[in-house]
Each structure stands twice: as structure tokens, then as C-alpha cells.
Amino acid sequence: MKYLDEFRNGELAHRLVTKIHQLAGDREITLMEVCGTHTMSIFRYGLPTLLPPNIRLLSGPGCPVCVTPNGYLDQAVAYVREKNIILTTFGDMIRVPGSSSSLERKRVREGNVQVVYSTLQALKIAGDNPHKRVVFFGVGFETTSPTVAASLVKAKREKINNYLVLSAHKLIPPAMEVLVSEPELNIDGFICPGHVSTIIGAEPYKAIAEGRHIPCVIAGFEPLDILQAIYMLISQIEKGRAEVGIQYRRAVRGEGNPRALSLLEEVFEVEDTYWRGLGVIPASGLKIGDKYGQFDAEKVLDIEAEETKEDRGCICGDILRGMKTPGDCPLFKTICRPENPLGACMVSSEGTCAAYYKYGEV
């Protein structure tokens, strides 16, 4: 396929891998990627089996489904109990277990949960069902939040007043700041998320690169993109430099996407928010601002959720911080499996545990 096959070329990959082996020598290097799509691509193409053993790839909190705390799920499940509400969300959220149920189980019983591919589809459902309230359960990072913002602007303009958003949106750079402060992790470099960076650009990573002296490279998602980003990171490490590099030049500009950023500004306000595994991170969440308060499900709907229980005995938290790998969890592959997930890292198709389970090394 044009523009994809080129980035999956076996011969070029072989050349890059050889260069990585030469450049890295026997230096111990730990690189972290903070994007679920990177995690999946790394495993889908078996990249760890190509790298020297002294290069360690860690998966950070890059899966939005995984870092969403149970409280939001319980709230969404509570909405589904209401007869006059249609809950819409992206496919991955459906199967995530909350404290005692999941949207998939609720869908079986109540039927008013719909999977959508875009927020505009949710908005259309609202337009088509004027006598119901249509709640979009929004989960995601800077890549998805502008589309949610756009749907709210459209709802306001077209007076689709039965459309509501439950916003669990989060920002990536503040989470990276927390991770570099973890002394046990010893991160030598970040593979920065490509999609998120198309929106936010390179600027927000400067605090980490220049302030904390940790190299950052914004990478695309094809195997050659990731291998090249790894090569760029090792080059920086080798030269003792720490800056924000852009490997994914075909999509990312230094200044990001000003229009998307102004949409975020228009609709959302930054707040402190809780991340599964990382705790409360200052200024890392997006709540709907007062100007769009009429569409904020949390403000408008007064529906009580069950009491939230977080602990299932799994080590999702440590996995999301890159402290442990799925193999360290006693539940992994035994009780916690994709068909019966206990923790969010297994439920989401972009979760670290799901990646390990699905693609494992041969």
C-alpha cells in the first residue's frame, strides 16, 4: 500500500537494526514509549526480537482506556441504567470492567449502549433521538480530545441540546514528568507519541528533554518509524545530548495543529486528575469548561454510581508506570486473559498486557 509498505520494508529494517546494534554497543539503555499504538506496533512487528538485549523497551501509560479510573466506568454504567439515556463510546471502553459490571454486560441487559467510530456519529444519534439524552463517554489523549471539542462546538451551534459528554480526557506530557521522577525507572529516552504530537507539536516535551536531560523523539507508528526513532535516541544518548527530535516529519510540525489546540482551549479547562497506576497528576485532565457546561454530563445528570472499588489484586498500576512487565503479575494468563480481563491493561486492545498476550515473543 502506498505510504505504508515503504515503512515496513524488510531490507531497510535490517539495515537500521544493524546500525542500532553497532551504535548501542553493550551500553544498557532503557527507552519508554508512552503511546498504546506504539506498544502494539512494537509487538505486532516483533521489534524486541530484533533489538540487542541491552536495549530495554518499556511501555508507559500510553493507553487511555488503561489509565481511566474505575470511577468513570461506574458512572457510565450508572447512566446505562436510565431508560432515557443512550450511552455512546469507542469500542474499547465497552469491555472494561468497572467495580462490578462493564458496559458490554449492561448492553446485553439494557441494550442502550452504542459503539461509535467518531464523535460526529454520537452527535447524529443525538439528532435522531431528540427525546433521549445521548451521552458520549470520552476517553483519550490530545489526539481524540479535539474531535470531542469539535462535536461540542457543533452541538452548541446546531442546538443539539440532548447531547452530553462524560469527559475523562487526559494530557500526556504531565504523565511523562511524573515518570521521569521515578528513580527506579531510569529512563534514558522517550519515544514520544506521534498522533498526540500532531496536535501538541514538539514544544511540550522540551521541559523533559532540556529540563531533565532526557532525549525525546516523536515517532510514527510503522516499524521503520520506530526503529529509526530508536536509532535517533541512541545517537543522542551516545553524544550526551538531550533534545526533542521529530522522526515523524511527514505528520508532525514543531508548532502542532493550532486549530485543534484552539478548539481544546475553547471547550476544555485543565484540571488535576486521577490516573490509574499513577495517582493524581496536577494539570493533567480536561474537563468541560463553563461555556459548554450545558453539555457536561457530570454537571447536568444527577445519577449516582455505585461505590468504586479499584483493587483486583492485579498490578496494572506498576505496569502502567513501566515498573513491572505483565509476566510479573500472578494473574497474567492465568486468571486475567483477554476473554476475561481483570485489569484495564488486558482489556484495551492497546494495553500492555493485551500486547504481551496477543503477540508474545516466539
Binding site: G10, A13, G46, Y117, Q121, P223, E339, K358, E361, V362
Partner: protein, 337 residues
């Protein structure tokens, strides 16, 4: 609070939960040696002959899609389940569950299509039944077919015969059927040129059985796709399978759409493809023979049987890394066949 165990859409996906359902519920009750083989069709030794017998239900939404319809699907699917067991498909029965209000002309179109497919596959529809349920009790039309075929007594295909070093042959591109049905559902905001691969495989299979006596086993990768078919073979044979990603044929349009929607091509359903496990010395000859047939033009040797890891399917990726291809979990797309 523990919730009652209920049937989820995932149970019908042909993946891990479907397998569990079959073993935990059905096999547990209907315990017998013939069923326990869990092949696409049961092999019955009767009065000196060997018969293949199978049944399948079809609930596709929408009823008509590019490249086929529920009628053609209901004949081809059952014909193929017989054919992959090495049988010459002969007779089919059909049962139709119709929703009150179904347009008479739609029914006629479907039945006409069934007859056309039956003629193409050389089978006769010899028995049938109809039921009507009240509006909402079904979605338009559901069809169940059963089929009988005659198996050459000399022939014995079984996953247990698979040996290390055997080659894996695939008869053509994967994912076409799933995405053709999805495209027709109208919830994509664009049109695709993808057509279902729905076709009867009896002739292609009869042809390869004529040129080689060293075909160990065959399977048609329908629900659960190539991933499920290969995992079942690995599991039943107790050996491993290593697939070369670059050898697996995929249409450009299918690849693009799957990429866009985040679908795993290996788990998407096919309705006119067959996977064969063949002794290494005959693999080239078999795949060349297949390429001479309309339905096998893009046949490829896509991998081989390996000793380790046992019961698992590995993939050498386009960039040379290796990873596991697991049994699919969860629904990628509901009601595609």
C-alpha cells in the same frame, strides 16, 4: 455481586470463546468420538461407505452484499465444510427462519441465489423447513443448512497426520468477506470496491486431491479467520506453525480499510478460501496446481509446521521480527456470516 453468565456476541465470533462454548456446553453433553474430532464436517462410516455430514447457520446482516448474499453463503459455507474434509458434496437441506413482514421478493431472490449456488457446487437441495416468527423475533431472515458428501475411502485427512516440515498453503487473499459485508452495512461514510470471496471450493479441492496423496489436512478459514484456523490446526496437531507475513496475499483495498479501522486481517472471516497442510516435497506442485484454478489463482505457500513452540502459531513479520498469532478474542465485527 456476581453477574449471571450470559451469551455475549463474542461467543459467536469463531474465536476463543466460541471454542470454549463448544467444549464446555456441547461437547460436555453430546460426548462422542465423532463430534470430539471437531472437524468442519463429521466423518461417518456407514454400510461400507464414508460420508461427511455437517450443518451451519447463517445470520449475516445485511442479507445482500457485494459478491454474494445470505442464500449463496448458506450453500457455499456448507459445501466448503464438506469439501475440506475431502468429500464430494451431494445433498443439502435448508431451514429458513423468517421475520414477519419479510418482503416476498427478497425471499425469492435469496432462494433463487441458493439454487444457483447449489448448481454451481453440484449439490441438490433435497429437504427443507420454514418457520415464521413475529416481527422483532428475528432480523429478516436466518438460514440453516446441512449437507452430506461422499468421501473417498482411501482418503484420511486429519490434523493428527500433520508433521514437522510440512508446508502451509493458502488459496488466496484474506479478509475480503468481512470487509465487503461491513462496507455494505452503510455505517462507513464511504464506498469500497471490496467484494466477498464467497465461493464453493469443492472443485478446487477435488483437483488438488487428484494431484497429491500427501495432503494431510485442510480447513476453511471462516469466522475467526486465518488466525483461528491455524491455531486450531496447531492445537489439534500438537505442533507449531510459523507463517511468513510477506507471503500472505492481501488485496490493497482490504489492507487499507483494515489498517484504517484497526482490524486484524488474520482474524477477519473468509468464505471462499482454504488452508492446506501438505508434505514438503509436494507443496510446490499442489500450489502450482491450485494457481491454475479460478479460485486458487493467488495460492501461496505461507509457512510451515515447526516442532516448537507446540500448539502455537508464530509469525515472521515483514521486518523480520517474530511474534505469536493468537486465537482471536472478542468480536471484530458481529454477524458477518
Amino acid at each position: 455481586m456476581k453477574e449471571t453468565k450470559r451469551i455475549l456476541l463474542t461467543h459467536g465470533s469463531g474465536g476463543k470463546l466460541s471454542g470454549e462454548l463448544v467444549r464446555e456446553v456441547f461437547l460436555a453433553e453430546f460426548d462422542n468420538d465423532i463430534l470430539a474430532e471437531l472437524t468442519d464436517a463429521a466423518i461417518l462410516k456407514l454400510a461400507g461407505t464414508s460420508l461427511a455430514f455437517t450443518t451451519d447457520s447463517y445470520v449475516v446482516n445485511p442479507l445482500f452484499f457485494p459478491g454474494g448474499d445470505i442464500g449463496k453463503l448458506s450453500i457455499c459455507g456448507t459445501v466448503n465444510d464438506l469439501a475440506v474434509m475431502g468429500a464430494k458434496p451431494l445433498f443439502i437441506s435448508c431451514a429458513l427462519i423468517m421475520e414477519e413482514g419479510l418482503d416476498y421478493s427478497i425471499l425469492r431472490r435469496v432462494v433463487k441465489s441458493m439454487q444457483k449456488a447449489a448448481e454451481a457446487a453440484g449439490v441438490t437441495i433435497v429437504a427443507g423447513d420454514t418457520r415464521v416468527v413475529e416481527k422483532g423475533g428475528a432480523d429478516g431472515l436466518f438460514i440453516t443448512t446441512a449437507g452430506i458428501g461422499l468421501v473417498d475411502k482411501e482418503l484420511s485427512l486429519s490434523a493428527k497426520k500433520v508433521k514437522t516440515g510440512d508446508k502451509v498453503i493458502l488459496s488466496g487473499t484474506i479478509g475480503d468477506h468481512s470487509l465487503a459485508v461491513l462496507g455494505e452495512r452503510g455505517n462507513l461514510d464511504f464506498r469500497t470496491e471490496i467484494e466477498s470471496d464467497c465461493a464453493p471450493l469443492h472443485d478446487l479441492i477435488a483437483r488438488v486431491l487428484k494431484v497429491s496423496r500427501k495432503i494431510r489436512f485442510m480447513r476453511d478459514p471462516t469466522r475467526g479467520g486465518l488466525a483461528a484456523a491455524l491455531n486450531e490446526i496447531a492445537r489439534e496437531s500438537g505442533l507449531g506453525i510459523l507463517i511468513e507475513e510477506r507471503s500472505v496475499p492481501i488485496k490493497e483495498a482490504v489492507k487499507s480499510l483494515a489498517e484504517l479501522l484497526g482490524f486484524d486481517l488474520f482474524s477477519l472471516a473468509n468464505e471462499g478460501k482454504v488452508v492446506l497442510i501438505v508434505a514438503p516435497e509436494e507443496a510446490e506442485r499442489v500450489s502450482n496446481e491450485m494457481r491454475g484454478h479460478e479460485l486458487g489463482k493467488e495460492s501461496h505457500i505461507i509457512g510451515e509446521i515447526v516442532a516448537e513452540p507446540k500448539g502455537k502459531v508464530g509469525l515472521r513479520t515483514l521486518v523480520g521480527g517474530t511474534r505469536i498469532v493468537d486465537m482471536p478474542v472478542g468480536e471484530q465485527l458481529p454477524r458477518i456470516c
